[in-house]
Protein backbone atom coordinates (compact mmCIF):
# COMPACT_ATOMS: atom_id res chain seq x y z
CA UNK A 1 0.00 0.00 0.00
CA UNK A 2 1.07 3.54 -0.74
CA UNK A 3 2.69 5.29 2.21
CA UNK A 4 0.39 8.27 1.60
CA UNK A 5 -2.81 6.25 1.17
CA UNK A 6 -5.56 8.47 2.66
CA UNK A 7 -7.01 5.78 4.94
CA UNK A 8 -3.57 4.68 6.09
CA UNK A 9 -2.80 8.30 7.03
CA UNK A 10 -6.15 8.76 8.77
CA UNK A 11 -5.71 5.61 10.84
CA UNK A 12 -2.18 6.57 11.80
CA UNK A 13 -3.46 9.98 12.96
CA UNK A 14 -6.40 8.36 14.77
CA UNK A 15 -3.98 6.15 16.67
CA UNK A 16 -1.57 8.93 17.52
CA UNK A 17 -4.03 11.73 18.32
CA UNK A 18 -7.02 9.65 19.39
CA UNK A 19 -8.41 12.15 21.90
CA UNK A 20 -7.87 15.25 19.80
CA UNK A 21 -10.73 16.75 17.79
CA UNK A 22 -10.97 15.46 14.21
CA UNK A 23 -14.22 17.13 13.21
CA UNK A 24 -16.33 20.12 14.20
CA UNK A 25 -19.75 19.85 12.59
CA UNK A 26 -23.38 20.60 13.50
CA UNK A 27 -22.19 22.18 16.76
CA UNK A 28 -20.43 18.95 17.83
CA UNK A 29 -16.78 18.11 18.34
CA UNK A 30 -15.88 14.57 17.32
CA UNK A 31 -12.53 13.09 18.32
CA UNK A 32 -10.31 10.92 16.16
CA UNK A 33 -11.21 7.91 18.32
CA UNK A 34 -14.94 8.53 17.83
CA UNK A 35 -14.67 9.17 14.09
CA UNK A 36 -12.50 6.07 13.65
CA UNK A 37 -15.02 3.91 15.51
CA UNK A 38 -17.99 5.39 13.67
CA UNK A 39 -16.42 4.82 10.26
CA UNK A 40 -15.38 1.29 11.27
CA UNK A 41 -19.02 0.56 12.08
CA UNK A 42 -20.13 1.80 8.65
CA UNK A 43 -17.36 -0.20 6.94
CA UNK A 44 -18.42 -3.35 8.79
CA UNK A 45 -22.06 -2.91 7.77
CA UNK A 46 -21.00 -2.42 4.14
CA UNK A 47 -18.80 -5.50 4.11
CA UNK A 48 -21.55 -7.57 5.77
CA UNK A 49 -24.41 -6.35 3.59
CA UNK A 50 -22.83 -5.74 0.18
CA UNK A 51 -19.34 -7.24 0.07
CA UNK A 52 -19.22 -7.03 -3.73
CA UNK A 53 -20.29 -3.40 -4.05
CA UNK A 54 -17.69 -1.24 -5.75
CA UNK A 55 -19.27 2.17 -5.41
CA UNK A 56 -21.50 3.49 -2.65
CA UNK A 57 -23.43 6.77 -2.73
CA UNK A 58 -24.63 9.12 0.00
CA UNK A 59 -26.30 12.52 0.11
CA UNK A 60 -23.40 14.91 0.58
CA UNK A 61 -24.87 17.11 3.29
CA UNK A 62 -22.52 18.97 5.59
CA UNK A 63 -23.39 16.64 8.45
CA UNK A 64 -21.35 14.34 10.66
CA UNK A 65 -22.86 11.29 8.92
CA UNK A 66 -21.31 12.29 5.61
CA UNK A 67 -17.77 12.44 6.97
CA UNK A 68 -18.15 9.07 8.67
CA UNK A 69 -19.57 7.73 5.40
CA UNK A 70 -16.56 8.88 3.34
CA UNK A 71 -14.19 7.11 5.73
CA UNK A 72 -16.40 4.04 6.16
CA UNK A 73 -16.83 3.50 2.43
CA UNK A 74 -13.08 3.82 1.82
CA UNK A 75 -12.26 1.53 4.75
CA UNK A 76 -14.53 -1.09 3.22
CA UNK A 77 -12.40 -0.92 0.07
CA UNK A 78 -15.18 0.77 -1.92
CA UNK A 79 -15.39 4.14 -3.70
CA UNK A 80 -17.70 6.92 -2.60
CA UNK A 81 -20.13 8.74 -4.87
CA UNK A 82 -21.43 11.91 -3.18
CA UNK A 83 -24.80 13.17 -4.43
CA UNK A 84 -25.41 16.96 -4.35
CA UNK A 85 -27.79 17.64 -1.41
CA UNK A 86 -30.00 19.99 -3.42
CA UNK A 87 -30.52 17.40 -6.16
CA UNK A 88 -32.22 17.53 -8.52
CA UNK A 89 -33.27 13.90 -8.30
CA UNK A 90 -33.07 13.36 -12.06
CA UNK A 91 -29.38 14.26 -11.80
CA UNK A 92 -28.91 11.83 -8.90
CA UNK A 93 -30.47 9.14 -11.05
CA UNK A 94 -28.06 9.85 -13.88
CA UNK A 95 -25.08 9.71 -11.49
CA UNK A 96 -26.22 6.52 -9.80
CA UNK A 97 -26.90 4.85 -13.15
CA UNK A 98 -23.58 5.85 -14.67
CA UNK A 99 -21.59 4.74 -11.63
CA UNK A 100 -23.57 1.51 -11.25
CA UNK A 101 -24.45 2.30 -7.63
CA UNK A 102 -26.80 -0.12 -5.84
CA UNK A 103 -26.10 0.76 -2.21
CA UNK A 104 -26.09 3.97 -0.21
CA UNK A 105 -24.99 4.99 3.26
CA UNK A 106 -28.08 6.64 4.71
CA UNK A 107 -31.33 6.74 2.76
CA UNK A 108 -31.41 8.27 -0.71
CA UNK A 109 -34.83 8.83 -2.22
CA UNK A 110 -34.38 6.97 -5.51
CA UNK A 111 -35.90 3.68 -6.59
CA UNK A 112 -33.85 0.48 -6.53
CA UNK A 113 -31.23 1.56 -4.01
CA UNK A 114 -30.59 -0.23 -0.75
CA UNK A 115 -29.60 1.89 2.26
CA UNK A 116 -27.00 0.92 4.85
CA UNK A 117 -27.37 2.73 8.18
CA UNK A 118 -25.07 5.72 8.70
CA UNK A 119 -25.60 5.80 12.49
CA UNK A 120 -22.81 5.76 15.00
CA UNK A 121 -21.97 2.38 16.37
CA UNK A 122 -19.16 0.06 17.29
CA UNK A 123 -17.60 -2.45 14.93
CA UNK A 124 -17.04 -5.97 16.22
CA UNK A 125 -14.02 -6.58 14.04
CA UNK A 126 -11.58 -4.81 11.79
CA UNK A 127 -12.86 -4.65 8.24
CA UNK A 128 -10.19 -2.53 6.68
CA UNK A 129 -9.73 -3.49 3.09
CA UNK A 130 -6.63 -1.90 1.68
CA UNK A 131 -7.10 -3.47 -1.70
CA UNK A 132 -9.64 -0.84 -2.79
CA UNK A 133 -8.31 0.88 -5.88
CA UNK A 134 -10.86 3.57 -6.57
CA UNK A 135 -11.41 6.38 -4.04
CA UNK A 136 -14.34 8.32 -5.44
CA UNK A 137 -16.38 9.19 -8.49
CA UNK A 138 -17.16 12.90 -8.81
CA UNK A 139 -19.34 14.37 -11.51
CA UNK A 140 -18.62 17.43 -13.64
CA UNK A 141 -20.69 19.14 -16.30
CA UNK A 142 -20.65 17.40 -19.68
CA UNK A 143 -21.16 19.17 -22.98
CA UNK A 144 -22.88 16.30 -24.77
CA UNK A 145 -25.55 15.36 -22.28
CA UNK A 146 -25.68 14.73 -18.57
CA UNK A 147 -22.90 14.94 -16.01
CA UNK A 148 -19.62 13.01 -16.51
CA UNK A 149 -18.23 10.96 -13.64
CA UNK A 150 -14.48 11.14 -13.05
CA UNK A 151 -13.00 8.00 -11.46
CA UNK A 152 -10.15 8.89 -9.09
CA UNK A 153 -8.05 6.21 -7.37
CA UNK A 154 -6.58 6.06 -3.89
CA UNK A 155 -3.15 6.11 -5.51
CA UNK A 156 -4.09 9.39 -7.24
CA UNK A 157 -5.09 10.89 -3.88
CA UNK A 158 -1.91 9.50 -2.29
CA UNK A 159 0.22 11.25 -4.93
CA UNK A 160 -1.58 14.51 -4.16
CA UNK A 161 -1.15 14.09 -0.41
CA UNK A 162 2.52 13.22 -0.77
CA UNK A 163 3.14 16.51 -2.51
CA UNK A 164 1.07 18.69 -0.18
CA UNK A 165 2.32 17.12 3.05
CA UNK A 166 5.90 17.56 1.90
CA UNK A 167 5.43 21.09 0.58
CA UNK A 168 3.77 22.59 3.67
CA UNK A 169 4.30 22.30 7.41
CA UNK A 170 0.81 21.41 8.65
CA UNK A 171 0.42 20.32 12.27
CA UNK A 172 -2.03 18.72 14.67
CA UNK A 173 -2.74 22.21 16.01
CA UNK A 174 -4.13 23.35 12.68
CA UNK A 175 -7.82 23.98 12.20
CA UNK A 176 -8.86 23.46 8.60
CA UNK A 177 -11.80 25.13 6.86
CA UNK A 178 -14.21 22.84 5.00
CA UNK A 179 -16.03 25.26 2.72
CA UNK A 180 -16.07 23.04 -0.38
CA UNK A 181 -19.06 20.85 -1.14
CA UNK A 182 -18.25 17.16 -0.77
CA UNK A 183 -19.27 16.78 -4.43
CA UNK A 184 -16.30 18.97 -5.34
CA UNK A 185 -12.84 17.32 -5.30
CA UNK A 186 -11.22 20.24 -3.49
CA UNK A 187 -13.04 18.90 -0.41
CA UNK A 188 -10.73 15.87 -0.56
CA UNK A 189 -7.85 18.20 0.26
CA UNK A 190 -9.76 19.57 3.26
CA UNK A 191 -10.56 16.13 4.68
CA UNK A 192 -7.41 14.19 4.04
CA UNK A 193 -4.73 16.84 4.47
CA UNK A 194 -6.36 17.64 7.81
CA UNK A 195 -6.76 14.02 8.90
CA UNK A 196 -3.21 13.14 7.85
CA UNK A 197 -1.70 15.57 10.34
CA UNK A 198 -4.12 15.21 13.26
CA UNK A 199 -5.81 18.57 12.64
CA UNK A 200 -9.43 19.53 13.23
CA UNK A 201 -11.74 19.82 10.23
CA UNK A 202 -14.23 22.67 10.77
CA UNK A 203 -17.43 22.35 8.76
CA UNK A 204 -19.67 25.37 8.24
CA UNK A 205 -23.44 24.89 8.20
CA UNK A 206 -25.19 25.29 4.86
CA UNK A 207 -25.86 29.01 5.29
CA UNK A 208 -22.47 29.69 6.84
CA UNK A 209 -20.86 30.44 3.48
CA UNK A 210 -22.59 33.79 3.79
CA UNK A 211 -20.82 34.31 7.11
CA UNK A 212 -17.49 32.72 6.25
CA UNK A 213 -15.49 35.43 7.98
CA UNK A 214 -17.38 35.09 11.29
CA UNK A 215 -17.22 31.31 10.99
CA UNK A 216 -13.43 31.38 10.51
CA UNK A 217 -12.96 33.59 13.58
CA UNK A 218 -15.30 31.51 15.73
CA UNK A 219 -13.58 28.27 14.79
CA UNK A 220 -10.06 29.71 14.89
CA UNK A 221 -9.33 28.57 11.33
CA UNK A 222 -5.58 28.41 10.65
CA UNK A 223 -5.65 26.73 7.22
CA UNK A 224 -8.02 28.35 4.74
CA UNK A 225 -9.05 26.85 1.39
CA UNK A 226 -11.75 28.33 -0.82
CA UNK A 227 -12.67 29.51 -4.28
CA UNK A 228 -11.72 33.14 -4.94
CA UNK A 229 -15.46 33.91 -5.25
CA UNK A 230 -15.90 33.32 -1.54
CA UNK A 231 -13.38 36.07 -0.79
CA UNK A 232 -15.17 38.35 -3.23
CA UNK A 233 -18.45 37.59 -1.47
CA UNK A 234 -16.95 38.40 1.94
CA UNK A 235 -15.53 41.61 0.56
CA UNK A 236 -18.87 42.68 -0.92
CA UNK A 237 -20.54 41.91 2.40
CA UNK A 238 -18.04 44.24 4.12
CA UNK A 239 -16.99 41.20 6.16
CA UNK A 240 -13.31 41.39 5.31
CA UNK A 241 -11.81 44.35 7.16
CA UNK A 242 -8.08 44.43 7.98
CA UNK A 243 -7.06 41.69 10.41
CA UNK A 244 -10.49 39.99 10.23
CA UNK A 245 -8.80 36.57 9.97
CA UNK A 246 -5.90 36.86 12.41
CA UNK A 247 -5.40 33.09 12.95
CA UNK A 248 -5.06 32.07 9.32
CA UNK A 249 -1.45 31.10 8.64
CA UNK A 250 -1.86 29.22 5.35
CA UNK A 251 -4.41 30.02 2.68
CA UNK A 252 -5.06 28.19 -0.57
CA UNK A 253 -7.25 29.29 -3.45
CA UNK A 254 -8.38 27.10 -6.32
CA UNK A 255 -11.26 26.48 -8.71
CA UNK A 256 -11.31 29.81 -10.54
CA UNK A 257 -8.86 32.43 -11.77
CA UNK A 258 -7.52 34.32 -8.74
CA UNK A 259 -7.06 38.05 -9.21
CA UNK A 260 -4.53 40.29 -7.49
CA UNK A 261 -7.20 42.58 -5.95
CA UNK A 262 -8.71 39.52 -4.22
CA UNK A 263 -5.26 38.51 -2.98
CA UNK A 264 -4.69 41.99 -1.54
CA UNK A 265 -8.07 42.00 0.21
CA UNK A 266 -7.45 38.58 1.73
CA UNK A 267 -3.85 39.43 2.60
CA UNK A 268 -4.97 42.50 4.56
CA UNK A 269 -7.56 40.43 6.45
CA UNK A 270 -5.08 37.64 7.17
CA UNK A 271 -1.76 39.48 7.57
CA UNK A 272 0.13 36.45 8.91
CA UNK A 273 -0.98 34.08 6.16
CA UNK A 274 1.16 32.59 3.44
CA UNK A 275 -0.96 32.50 0.29
CA UNK A 276 -0.95 29.93 -2.52
CA UNK A 277 -2.82 29.80 -5.79
CA UNK A 278 -3.55 26.19 -6.80
CA UNK A 279 -4.75 24.90 -10.13
CA UNK A 280 -6.03 21.55 -11.27
CA UNK A 281 -9.00 19.81 -12.87
CA UNK A 282 -10.84 16.92 -11.17
CA UNK A 283 -9.28 14.65 -13.81
CA UNK A 284 -5.82 15.35 -12.32
CA UNK A 285 -6.89 14.95 -8.67
CA UNK A 286 -7.62 18.11 -6.69
CA UNK A 287 -4.74 20.38 -7.78
CA UNK A 288 -1.54 19.85 -9.70
CA UNK A 289 0.23 23.22 -9.93
CA UNK A 290 0.92 25.80 -7.25
CA UNK A 291 2.06 29.39 -7.07
CA UNK A 292 3.44 30.90 -3.88
CA UNK A 293 2.32 34.50 -3.56
CA UNK A 294 5.21 36.54 -2.26
CA UNK A 295 4.25 39.61 -0.25
CA UNK A 296 6.64 41.58 -2.43
CA UNK A 297 4.54 40.90 -5.51
CA UNK A 298 1.16 42.15 -4.29
CA UNK A 299 0.93 45.42 -6.20
CA UNK A 300 -0.13 43.95 -9.52
CA UNK A 301 -3.32 43.80 -11.51
CA UNK A 302 -4.89 41.01 -13.49
CA UNK A 303 -4.71 37.30 -12.75
CA UNK A 304 -2.27 35.49 -10.45
CA UNK A 305 -0.10 32.82 -12.16
CA UNK A 306 -0.98 29.17 -11.57
CA UNK A 307 2.68 28.43 -10.93
CA UNK A 308 4.68 25.25 -11.36
CA UNK A 309 3.74 21.55 -11.32
CA UNK A 310 3.66 19.33 -8.23
CA UNK A 311 6.49 16.84 -7.74
CA UNK A 312 4.81 13.89 -9.50
CA UNK A 313 3.22 15.94 -12.23
CA UNK A 314 4.40 16.68 -15.70
CA UNK A 315 3.02 19.44 -17.84
CA UNK A 316 3.34 20.38 -21.49
CA UNK A 317 1.76 23.04 -23.61
CA UNK A 318 0.61 21.97 -27.06
CA UNK A 319 -1.05 24.56 -29.34
CA UNK A 320 -1.39 26.80 -26.25
CA UNK A 321 -3.38 24.08 -24.41
CA UNK A 322 -2.12 22.78 -21.09
CA UNK A 323 -1.73 18.99 -20.92
CA UNK A 324 -1.03 17.06 -17.73
CA UNK A 325 0.56 13.72 -16.95
CA UNK A 326 1.82 11.77 -13.93
CA UNK A 327 0.50 9.76 -11.00
CA UNK A 328 -2.32 12.17 -10.22
CA UNK A 329 -4.00 11.48 -13.57
CA UNK A 330 -7.43 9.85 -13.15
CA UNK A 331 -8.47 6.68 -14.97
CA UNK A 332 -11.13 8.54 -16.97
CA UNK A 333 -14.90 8.90 -17.06
CA UNK A 334 -17.06 6.06 -15.78
CA UNK A 335 -19.04 4.31 -18.48
CA UNK A 336 -17.96 6.84 -21.10
CA UNK A 337 -15.03 5.50 -23.10
CA UNK A 338 -15.59 8.05 -25.88
CA UNK A 339 -15.25 11.03 -23.56
CA UNK A 340 -12.24 9.37 -21.92
CA UNK A 341 -10.52 8.83 -25.27
CA UNK A 342 -11.15 12.41 -26.32
CA UNK A 343 -9.74 13.92 -23.13
CA UNK A 344 -6.95 11.44 -22.26
CA UNK A 345 -4.33 10.92 -24.96
CA UNK A 346 -1.72 8.19 -25.08
CA UNK A 347 1.64 9.37 -26.35
CA UNK A 348 2.54 6.71 -28.96
CA UNK A 349 6.29 7.10 -28.46
CA UNK A 350 6.39 6.79 -24.65
CA UNK A 351 3.05 5.20 -23.80
CA UNK A 352 2.42 8.02 -21.29
CA UNK A 353 -1.13 9.24 -20.73
CA UNK A 354 -1.80 12.96 -21.04
CA UNK A 355 -4.96 14.81 -20.04
CA UNK A 356 -6.06 17.67 -22.27
CA UNK A 357 -7.28 20.34 -19.85
CA UNK A 358 -8.96 22.62 -22.37
CA UNK A 359 -7.21 25.46 -20.56
CA UNK A 360 -5.19 27.84 -22.66
CA UNK A 361 -2.03 28.82 -20.80
CA UNK A 362 1.14 30.81 -21.36
CA UNK A 363 4.56 29.92 -19.97
CA UNK A 364 6.16 32.93 -18.34
CA UNK A 365 9.86 33.77 -18.53
CA UNK A 366 10.10 32.96 -14.81
CA UNK A 367 8.93 29.38 -15.40
CA UNK A 368 5.41 29.96 -14.08
CA UNK A 369 2.31 28.96 -15.98
CA UNK A 370 -0.32 31.63 -16.53
CA UNK A 371 -3.97 30.79 -17.19
CA UNK A 372 -5.24 32.69 -20.25
CA UNK A 373 -8.71 31.35 -21.05
CA UNK A 374 -10.63 28.25 -22.07
CA UNK A 375 -10.24 26.83 -25.55
CA UNK A 376 -13.93 25.78 -25.42
CA UNK A 377 -17.11 27.26 -23.94
CA UNK A 378 -16.70 25.92 -20.40
CA UNK A 379 -17.12 28.52 -17.64
CA UNK A 380 -16.76 28.53 -13.87
CA UNK A 381 -19.71 29.64 -11.78
CA UNK A 382 -18.74 29.95 -8.09
CA UNK A 383 -16.05 27.36 -8.81
CA UNK A 384 -18.43 24.91 -10.53
CA UNK A 385 -17.44 23.77 -13.99
CA UNK A 386 -20.30 24.47 -16.36
CA UNK A 387 -20.59 23.45 -19.99
CA UNK A 388 -23.29 25.76 -21.42
CA UNK A 389 -24.09 23.03 -23.97
CA UNK A 390 -25.35 20.84 -21.13
CA UNK A 391 -28.29 23.27 -20.78
CA UNK A 392 -29.00 22.86 -24.50
CA UNK A 393 -28.79 19.09 -24.20
CA UNK A 394 -31.38 19.25 -21.41
CA UNK A 395 -33.64 21.46 -23.56
CA UNK A 396 -33.37 19.33 -26.70
CA UNK A 397 -35.94 16.77 -25.56
CA UNK A 398 -38.31 19.53 -24.40
CA UNK A 399 -38.35 21.37 -27.73
CA UNK A 400 -38.27 18.75 -30.49
CA UNK A 401 -38.91 21.38 -33.19
CA UNK A 402 -36.63 24.13 -31.96
CA UNK A 403 -33.00 24.83 -31.31
CA UNK A 404 -31.36 26.44 -28.36
CA UNK A 405 -27.99 28.01 -27.75
CA UNK A 406 -26.81 28.79 -24.25
CA UNK A 407 -24.09 31.40 -23.89
CA UNK A 408 -22.14 32.62 -20.90
CA UNK A 409 -21.79 36.33 -20.30
CA UNK A 410 -19.44 37.94 -17.82
CA UNK A 411 -20.80 41.02 -16.05
CA UNK A 412 -18.35 42.54 -13.59
CA UNK A 413 -17.27 39.69 -11.35
CA UNK A 414 -20.06 37.25 -12.21
CA UNK A 415 -20.59 34.84 -15.05
CA UNK A 416 -24.19 34.12 -16.00
CA UNK A 417 -25.88 31.93 -18.61
CA UNK A 418 -28.46 33.05 -21.17
CA UNK A 419 -30.38 30.63 -23.36
CA UNK A 420 -31.62 31.64 -26.80
CA UNK A 421 -34.35 29.60 -28.49
CA UNK A 422 -35.75 29.91 -32.02
CA UNK A 423 -39.21 28.60 -31.29
CA UNK A 424 -42.27 29.80 -29.44
CA UNK A 425 -42.35 28.07 -26.09
CA UNK A 426 -43.60 28.67 -22.59
CA UNK A 427 -40.47 29.96 -20.86
CA UNK A 428 -41.86 29.26 -17.40
CA UNK A 429 -42.58 25.66 -18.31
CA UNK A 430 -39.12 25.21 -19.82
CA UNK A 431 -37.42 26.63 -16.74
CA UNK A 432 -39.57 24.43 -14.57
CA UNK A 433 -38.35 21.39 -16.50
CA UNK A 434 -34.73 22.53 -16.42
CA UNK A 435 -34.93 22.76 -12.65
CA UNK A 436 -35.78 19.08 -12.58
CA UNK A 437 -32.57 18.11 -14.34
CA UNK A 438 -29.96 20.82 -13.67
CA UNK A 439 -28.42 22.13 -10.45
CA UNK A 440 -29.36 25.71 -9.52
CA UNK A 441 -26.00 27.18 -10.55
CA UNK A 442 -26.49 25.84 -14.07
CA UNK A 443 -29.89 27.44 -14.68
CA UNK A 444 -29.87 30.22 -17.25
CA UNK A 445 -30.65 33.73 -16.08
CA UNK A 446 -33.21 34.08 -18.83
CA UNK A 447 -34.58 32.31 -21.85
CA UNK A 448 -34.83 34.63 -24.83
CA UNK A 449 -36.83 33.82 -27.96
CA UNK A 450 -35.41 34.96 -31.29
CA UNK A 451 -37.24 34.56 -34.59
CA UNK A 452 -34.17 33.27 -36.33
CA UNK A 453 -30.74 32.55 -34.93
CA UNK A 454 -28.44 35.28 -36.29
CA UNK A 455 -25.59 34.06 -38.49
CA UNK A 456 -22.21 35.57 -39.27
CA UNK A 457 -20.96 36.11 -42.79
CA UNK A 458 -19.15 32.77 -42.41
CA UNK A 459 -22.38 30.94 -41.71
CA UNK A 460 -21.72 30.42 -38.00
CA UNK A 461 -24.09 31.35 -35.20
CA UNK A 462 -23.44 34.98 -34.35
CA UNK A 463 -22.79 34.84 -30.63
CA UNK A 464 -22.03 38.54 -30.34
CA UNK A 465 -25.36 39.48 -31.88
CA UNK A 466 -27.17 37.14 -29.48
CA UNK A 467 -25.37 38.48 -26.43
CA UNK A 468 -26.21 42.03 -27.56
CA UNK A 469 -29.90 41.10 -27.25
CA UNK A 470 -29.51 40.67 -23.49
CA UNK A 471 -28.91 44.37 -23.01
CA UNK A 472 -32.07 45.23 -24.90
CA UNK A 473 -34.36 43.38 -22.53
Amino acid sequence: MHEYDPIHLFERAAHRWSDRPALRVEGRTITYRELDAWSNAIAERLVDRCPDAQRVAFTAEKRANSYAAVLGILKAGMAYVPLPPDGPRARWQSMVDQAGVKFTVGAVDLPGLEAIAADEGAASRSTRNASGQEAYVLFTSGSTGGPKGVSVSRANVAAYLEHQLSAHAFSENDRFSQFFALTFDLSVHDLFVCWSVGGCLCVPAANDLMRASTFAREEGITVWFSVPSLVLLMQRMRALPANALPNVRLAFFCGEPLTWPIVRAFGAAAPDAELFNLYGPTEATIAITSFWISSASLQQEGVVPIGTPFRHARVRVIDDELQLSGTQLAAGYVGNADATDRAFLVDPSTGDRWYRTGDQVREGADGNLHFVSRIDDQVKIMGHRVEPAEVDAALASLMPNGHSLTLAKRTGDSVRLYTFIDTVADHLALMHELRRTLPAYMLPERIITVEVMPMTAHGKLDRKALLALIEHG
Partner: protein, 84 residues
Amino acid sequence: MDRTELLKRLRERLVARAERLGLQADELDGPLDLVRSGLLDSLGFVDLITELEQELGCEVDLAAAFDKPGATTLDGVIDLFLKP
Protein backbone atom coordinates in the same frame (compact mmCIF):
# COMPACT_ATOMS: atom_id res chain seq x y z
CA MET B 1 -41.23 52.22 5.11
CA ASP B 2 -43.47 49.42 6.34
CA ARG B 3 -43.34 45.70 5.76
CA THR B 4 -45.94 45.63 2.98
CA GLU B 5 -44.21 48.34 1.00
CA LEU B 6 -40.80 46.69 1.34
CA LEU B 7 -42.20 43.31 0.29
CA LYS B 8 -43.78 44.99 -2.74
CA ARG B 9 -40.43 46.54 -3.74
CA LEU B 10 -38.61 43.27 -3.26
CA ARG B 11 -41.11 41.41 -5.41
CA GLU B 12 -40.80 44.04 -8.12
CA ARG B 13 -37.07 43.54 -8.12
CA LEU B 14 -37.32 39.77 -8.23
CA VAL B 15 -40.26 39.28 -10.56
CA ALA B 16 -38.05 39.28 -13.66
CA ARG B 17 -35.98 36.59 -12.00
CA ALA B 18 -38.91 34.43 -10.98
CA GLU B 19 -38.91 33.07 -14.50
CA ARG B 20 -35.58 31.47 -13.69
CA LEU B 21 -37.39 29.15 -11.31
CA GLY B 22 -40.47 28.66 -13.44
CA LEU B 23 -42.46 30.62 -10.83
CA GLN B 24 -45.17 33.28 -11.05
CA ALA B 25 -44.47 36.55 -9.22
CA ASP B 26 -46.99 35.84 -6.46
CA GLU B 27 -45.22 32.59 -5.62
CA LEU B 28 -42.28 34.64 -4.32
CA ASP B 29 -43.45 34.69 -0.75
CA GLY B 30 -41.85 35.13 2.65
CA PRO B 31 -40.27 31.74 3.46
CA LEU B 32 -38.80 31.05 -0.01
CA ASP B 33 -35.00 30.83 0.33
CA LEU B 34 -33.71 33.14 -2.38
CA VAL B 35 -30.27 31.52 -2.61
CA ARG B 36 -30.92 27.83 -1.99
CA SER B 37 -33.83 27.88 -4.42
CA GLY B 38 -31.51 29.11 -7.17
CA LEU B 39 -33.39 32.40 -7.62
CA LEU B 40 -30.17 34.28 -6.88
CA ASP B 41 -26.61 33.13 -6.42
CA SER B 42 -24.85 34.37 -3.30
CA LEU B 43 -23.22 37.30 -5.09
CA GLY B 44 -26.57 38.16 -6.64
CA PHE B 45 -28.10 38.17 -3.16
CA VAL B 46 -25.48 40.60 -1.88
CA ASP B 47 -26.09 42.78 -4.94
CA LEU B 48 -29.81 42.83 -4.10
CA ILE B 49 -29.09 44.05 -0.57
CA THR B 50 -26.65 46.68 -1.84
CA GLU B 51 -29.21 48.00 -4.33
CA LEU B 52 -31.86 48.20 -1.61
CA GLU B 53 -29.44 50.02 0.68
CA GLN B 54 -28.86 52.62 -2.03
CA GLU B 55 -32.56 52.97 -2.73
CA LEU B 56 -33.48 53.31 0.95
CA GLY B 57 -30.42 55.37 1.88
CA CYS B 58 -29.28 53.16 4.75
CA GLU B 59 -26.62 50.57 5.46
CA VAL B 60 -27.37 47.23 7.11
CA ASP B 61 -25.03 44.90 8.99
CA LEU B 62 -24.97 42.24 6.32
CA ALA B 63 -22.28 40.07 7.91
CA ALA B 64 -24.14 39.86 11.23
CA ALA B 65 -27.47 39.18 9.51
CA PHE B 66 -26.38 35.65 8.71
CA ASP B 67 -25.94 34.76 12.36
CA LYS B 68 -29.70 34.22 12.33
CA PRO B 69 -31.32 31.44 10.31
CA GLY B 70 -33.47 32.42 7.36
CA ALA B 71 -31.37 35.44 6.39
CA THR B 72 -31.71 34.65 2.71
CA THR B 73 -35.51 34.46 2.68
CA LEU B 74 -37.74 37.41 1.72
CA ASP B 75 -38.79 37.62 5.37
CA GLY B 76 -35.10 37.65 6.38
CA VAL B 77 -34.32 40.51 4.00
CA ILE B 78 -37.26 42.53 5.31
CA ASP B 79 -36.16 41.97 8.91
CA LEU B 80 -32.67 43.09 7.97
CA PHE B 81 -34.02 46.51 6.95
CA LEU B 82 -36.87 46.87 9.44
CA LYS B 83 -35.20 45.46 12.58
CA PRO B 84 -31.69 46.84 12.54
